[in-house]
Amino acid sequence: MSWSLIFFLLVGAVSLAAALGVVTSRQPVHSALFLLTNFATLAVLYITLDAQFLAAAQVIVYAGGIVILILFVIMLIGGDTNDFSAAQRAWSRTVGIALGIILLLVISYSALSRMMGPSEESAALLRGGTPEAVGIELFTKYILPFELVALLLLVALIGALVLGRQQEGAGEGIPSVKANE
């Protein structure tokens, strides 16, 4: 067993444990921190996959932006909103887990056609996924999608502003979510 495989198994195990933590935590704050762990381990895996620029972008966008945003929202609406696990419908848990197992079997079956690692020349084509390599692709061949993404982000910014705006005359701010029904 090579070192790179051991490293992959370790990081993958941490990532998987964090993913399970997101789903099973009682408190949303704990879920958010597990999510942060999951994103960080995925960034490590990106580096092993010759995607250096995307590893950095993963840390900046997901860990630095999205998790912080989620934590802000938890702070705004109160973190003590524990699980409203469907007590009124006991079958939902069984059905959910069964559907999950079926999904896993199907995806694993399709992914198990053994793909070996890349050949030498295809690894050379990737040029390590450095910012230079990705940037040259992005700003020559994919310049139009890039501009469209900029437009999308602008629209999302305006949409979030409009949705999150305080209503006229409602000055009391956001009330904390009342405890579990």
């Binding site: 789903v23 995307l54 993963q58 699980d83 999950g100 995806i107 694993s108």
Partner: protein, 100 residues
Amino acid sequence: MVETSYYLVLAAIIFTVGATGVLLRRNALIIFMCIEMMLNSVNLTLIALARQWGNLEGQIFVFMIMAVAAAEVAVGLAILIANVRHRQSINIDEINLLKW
């Protein structure tokens, strides 16, 4: 060098955990995080396959997905906050205005 199929299986498992979380949990915030996790596992498959075929287009695609995820988070959380203002709840069983 680790085989590509290992990465694909890991991504499949993380995706399944996220999908199961969406089915099991009732807290809208946690469902949101599970969706983010599923997006990330798909990113992992794209990057693994980009390495497999030696093609940078997979990585460009992941870049675009990251931008879309950021936009989705901004708008989704704004909707969540607007809903909390009106209904004082983030339990998705109570967010049922569009259900007939």
